[in-house]
Symmetry: D3
Subunit: 239 residues, 6 copies
């Protein structure tokens, strides 16, 4: 017997996905990314400076910050203040690495790009939604620099998108929502670029372990979902 | 000669104001309040516990947190971490006091209400927008408790709204935007209830001092603006 | 029926006020200010540097720090250590703004003045006592620079004093002590300069709201008290 | 042309591995684990209490802390104080999850096990060495409880070991040392149990992306190394 | 040739010492202790609770906090915030240990006494002045409990006083002021009780080492000074 | 009747002492110092920079950090994270002062030496073991600079060693272990150089006070122990 998804989706079906560009107007890029009931506001800022370890190298940098607003979940969550949780640190490092992989840092020049991913509403998949939405906000911010003449060619050399896959009752399911997430035995986040090259794969057994064959199924389902997300990104960007 | 407002408003004219109720769905109350280009997301959470100083008194409490998202302003602002700035502390204390004044704490019972005011976009007036929008989110959250039967009568005994008034070239102007705010000589925030009782008045001379007569003019203009905000709140709530 | 003050003062009567100049000898200015049982040690330090935002502008700066000694109240209060309370931040920002308003920052030149207000004994009105006493310590410190020839003309262009007014049983009372403070319905702090120009007004309804007419009465009583404090300051300074 | 390893190892060859049990005597379990020049002291403490979220459930818990001693690397590294780096948090969370997967928490009962992994000398592979050595220290600590009669059957239901694999010049190499680690294009950490079930897989592209086929090669090499580590663990434990 | 003291004191002569009891009125004990230009405000608070490690033992506790006010020295010193300097921690631990040695903790019962030593003016010897003055404030606070009937017999079983001795040009000098302190080769703090039993001795070579014979001279001079301080304490207490 | 030591040592007998040089290989100096069951890993790092207060003086500096690993004691001790305990601060300041006394800072030149003392196993006497072992690691690190030609003559001008002495039943005992330490009435740490000049003496009465004569006995016993430790250091260094 197989798991029936609470919203009747196929095992390899994404939730409805949308991207609202220029959701706020002061940031260089600003996208409200929605994936089902998950809503992440991704804003991009660009500053003409680089961290210390890059002084004088002619290269740029990209970093990310991730936070949940306290009201994003049914039970209010305290703001992280005196220290970031390990979870938050892992997520913002993943977002940073994933979006850094899209850039030619020499072409970017001595600039620091900051991706702020603030979760307005959380129903699982916030980190992957932040990456997928963050890419669009990044493209908008770079376009802004191209239009203003600050850059003459785009430093964006790859497109990236991300999704999650879980194992429930030994079967792989794409893009779990919260209710599915809590019962999944294995939780996997996968980031790929436009040619399905793997940027990051993180798979964790919550209960029992998983096999090499199951890892393969997870990657199949992930690739299917990322293919659709890459198309939705291009569509949102009018490409 | 008089100051001409950048958006051609009359001296005692508010910016366009709107309230989007139930902007997010997991919080008990959630309002996206806009006042011109200022956008504040106000969410309300209610927890069945009280702070230590109220243990066993049968009374409830209300507290507020205020933050700017980093991308809310043209230049990215770092998140406050490890310590809150004096400005943020002053603002969240003001929001808390103002909204506490609307409640009969005995009628609320042993519950803590938290108002989270997260500024998505900042063009001055964020604290007063947070109060005015926060009241609507509070009303929604209380309605939720009334509908579910957790409360049998509303603990809300007052309506509050807030606005700012500035002195520019010795004249009082209502609801300054950022460009006006930086040149104003005096900056005043006023909170009133439904019968124009003063809940809070805070006036600060940035450059020169101001006279008793000018304080009077400020209060006149504030009262006019608050009258309109109170009506807009009632309209948004369908009252 | 009217409120009878515990120390039989008239509604518009200050507590006994005194200023002990040069209370300590190493600081540039040092005043032990007493207002009834409230005792605040105000010391002034001057350093030949300015904060970053003033680099190269030829202007000076003034900042304030406020603390209660743990033994200042009948029940010991913990030192603020890992973070300042909102109350402390509000108070030290108020003291800073108020005393900054007395200075011509160009005339001060690239110096930073720090006012340290340490409350040795607290019986309400500590922030206003800090401002009123701090002004004298500031004058002493500036005199020190004038006498040593480091400054050729005084950067002090205004005199300031501050007091509090409360509403008890709908009547305005000047300079509340602690026992009155806890029962007051409205609490107001007012800072004025030598010509009764308002530098700051902060009025907060603790219980019920207050009317425009009551705000007027509060300002009347405050002005009367500040008039006396300004005279006492001049007398202490031998002017 | 292929990469020649600095120590002439085969691509799928581990560095020399050893485990010194009972390295210190006060901790319940204490193992100095060496993998080439990487040395990690793993100590295990058991306390008769559980974290709040497990109160009254009759289950135990396992948590891990990971640190580098300042002198572990050629250039001294500051101790982490006030906040942990994202890297440290990720590593200690990984160690914790991996070793938790070995335990039947009901059988452990209301106890908290803490694994402290302190890196005395670092030459890459510290997190995987901590997991592999930590398992032995955990087994020793549990044996201690069994011998003292505090437990009647072992709560250890799985054995785990971990290793790293990197891609250099498109080929998979097992157990990189520091010099190899810095030039690798892809860095992968893999944790498996005694039946080669995957507990965790984390693969990150540092430069270019990697293919599904390369992920397969990485897993092949990892499985070979883990097979040997599992045997070395059993040998060290005299099983 | 011998060192001539800047204030012409004999090598074994104390600076003028005075104790102003009940300097503030809300704390249970409050003494302004002066030793030359060093001024320390010692206040004592007593709370009906004990730290965790004493729960249910029927014993009391005494702890101390030490701080310099920023204006206590010619150059302003920043307040210690977020972390205490090692110097401050050493000093407050010394004050605590010294004054704890005066008490029969069983006789005190389940109370915590806090000694707050706030340095208003610093000219060396602040820690020893805090101990000597703190003892008087402690006696006053205990007397308060005896008078109110909360205690029936005094838990104070010893008297303590403290002083410093320095080696300058191989000779021992009592009670150094700041100018002497900076040139001394050896700096020693000694705490003794009413029968000249040593409670604490801390001697540190700043430059060269010192001999057993010099340690003896230091103790001789210290004993002479403490003899006088014990008498001055009794005199201040009217004993 | 006299105290019989748990390990049958004479009152003035040290525990077995050993020093394992080059315990780790990446630090400039690395010694595992053992004194009975106390084990301290002392590593030395040298960096070509000095703290701010030494800029441009041509002198070097030495500083120390001290920590206990969590598993060093039978009951796990939490890592010190947000703040250092007073005990830790006192100890690392003592280690720093003691080892600084061995150096000619002009001869060292603009370098900062950091001594890291990490306690792997604790059975009392950790601070004195850290000093005695730290000296050997320091000598190794300096030899390293001499061999590489970075220094042409050694800046080490003194040898130091340290030990503890306790009073039990009014008799002085050398080098207490933990079981003795908890019952001792007086606890003393003494640091001396190669000619038995005192670098530091710290004696604390835990219960009753001690006499001048007892201080003398303590110093006698300490000197005997330090004489042996100095010889053991020279032997370990092959001198």
């Amino acid at each position: 017997m197989t798991w029936t998804r609470p919203d009747d989706r196929q095992p390899d079906q994404l939730r409805p996905v949308s991207f609202e560009r220029r959701f706020t107007k002061f940031a260089a890029g600003s996208v409200l990314a929605k994936c089902g009931d998950t809503q992440v506001l991704c804003t991009v800022s660009i500053e003409p400076k680089v961290p210390k370890f890059l002084f004088g190298k002619g290269e740029g940098w990209l970093t990310a910050e991730y936070r949940m607003l306290p009201g994003a979940t049914p039970e209010r969550q305290s703001r992280e203040f005196l220290k970031l949780s390990g979870r938050t640190q892992e997520i913002q490092r993943l977002i940073g690495r994933s979006l850094r992989s899209t850039l030619d840092m020499q072409a970017l020049g001595e600039r620091t790009i900051t991706i702020d991913a603030d979760v307005l509403q959380a129903d699982a998949g916030t980190r992957t939604t932040a990456i997928t939405g963050g890419f669009i906000a990044l493209q908008d911010a770079i376009n802004h620099l191209l239009e203003s003449g600050e850059l003459t060619r785009s430093p964006i050399v790859h497109q990236v998108a991300a999704t999650s896959v879980g194992l429930i009752q030994d079967q792989a399911f794409l893009d779990l929502n919260y209710d599915e997430d809590v019962i999944a035995d294995v939780d996997c986040n996968i980031v790929m670029n436009e040619s399905f090259g793997i940027i990051e794969v993180q798979g964790t057994a919550e209960g029992e372990s998983f096999s090499r064959k199951q890892l393969d199924q997870i990657m199949d389902v992930a690739e299917k979902g990322i293919r659709e997300l890459l198309a939705l990104q291009r569509q949102a960007l009018g490409q």
